[in-house]
């Protein structure tokens, strides 16, 4: 659900990075944060937790310039990937406008990818949304790790 602010001439959209644990969702946001011009990115919000796993969410606001006089403001969110945090994932998905599903291409993670994608479908249904009708990018991550010594 995008917010169109006619007063400030801004369009706000929410994009959520979704995927199984350890697939690289937070790394995606960190890379975007590190490579984008300071003028076009806001402050990255990461909720400090013990260890390096996301327990709640990460948030990176971006300003992508103007379209037809309207500032396009994007908020990138990540969800926690671990299976046990289903309720948190559903919270973050509320009001989502677009999705990036980050798949881990290691063969040993295939089942987790499928489980996560099915979880996404169900969570959207619970929010009265449909995966087939929601803009979705499938990101095949970690392709730089395909050569040995990493496992296929």
């Amino acid at each position: 659900m995008a917010l169109i602010d006619l007063n400030k001439k801004e369009v706000h959209c929410k994009i959520v990075y979704y995927g199984p644990g350890r697939c690289g969702k937070t790394t995606n946001l960190l890379h975007i944060y590190a490579t984008m011009n300071e003028q076009h990115r806001g402050k990255m919000l990461t909720i400090d937790t013990k260890g390096d796993r996301t327990l709640f969410f990460d948030l990176l606001p971006l300003n992508l310039g103007k379209i037809s006089g309207f500032d396009i403001r994007i908020q990138l969110y990540t969800v926690p990937g671990q299976v046990m945090y289903e309720a948190t994932r559903k919270l973050v998905l509320k009001g989502v406008d677009g999705l990036v599903f980050v798949a881990d291409p290691l063969r040993v993670r295939q089942a987790r990818n499928i489980e996560s994608l099915e979880g996404l479908r169900q969570n959207l249904l619970d929010l009265h949304m449909n995966l087939e009708e929601t803009p979705l990018v499938l990101q095949y991550n970690k392709r730089d790790l395909v050569t040995p010594p990493f496992p296929p």
Binding site: M1, A2, L3, I4, K43, L45, L59, Q75, G95, L127
Partner: protein, 131 residues
């Protein structure tokens, strides 16, 4: 889910209600946000100093998490959440299903007054967004 179009008229009416009920009562800042964490209105002297985008995202998630806690103990939802700091306090109030009012205030303003004023403007704000 349909996009939310925020016109100047809607924003001005909501801001006026918040200014009269809460800012004039002495609170430092008020954010009106939706359940997805979008900022719909930002009022008060401290409003410009605050990282509204981060606060809105955290407030929406925090109240969402509180709703899950409520379900765990057999409640449908908790309609408000309050955190007390050394000098600053924050009050989260749910307005209907989709709106949240975040009120930041010092110890010079009583929690009772904030709760009372939030309750007073809940229906008028909902009426503005449903009109």
């Amino acid at each position: 889910m349909a996009d939310l179009v925020l016109t100047a008229e809607i924003q001005n009416k909501a801001t006026e209600l918040i200014e009269n009920a809460l800012i004039k009562a002495g609170v430092s800042a008020v954010l009106l946000i939706d359940g997805a964490g979008n900022v719909l209105a930002n009022c008060g002297a401290r409003g410009a100093e605050i990282d509204a985008i981060s606060l809105a995202a955290l407030a929406a998630a925090s109240l969402g998490a509180t709703a899950q806690i409520a379900k765990l103990i057999g409640e449908e939802d908790f309609s408000l959440l309050f955190h007390k700091g050394k000098t600053g306090n924050i009050h989260f109030g749910r307005l209907g299903n989709d709106l949240i009012l975040v009120t930041i205030f010092t110890d010079e303003v009583s929690l009772g007054l904030v709760r009372c004023r939030v309750t007073e403007i809940t229906q008028p704000i909902l009426d503005i967004f449903e009109a």
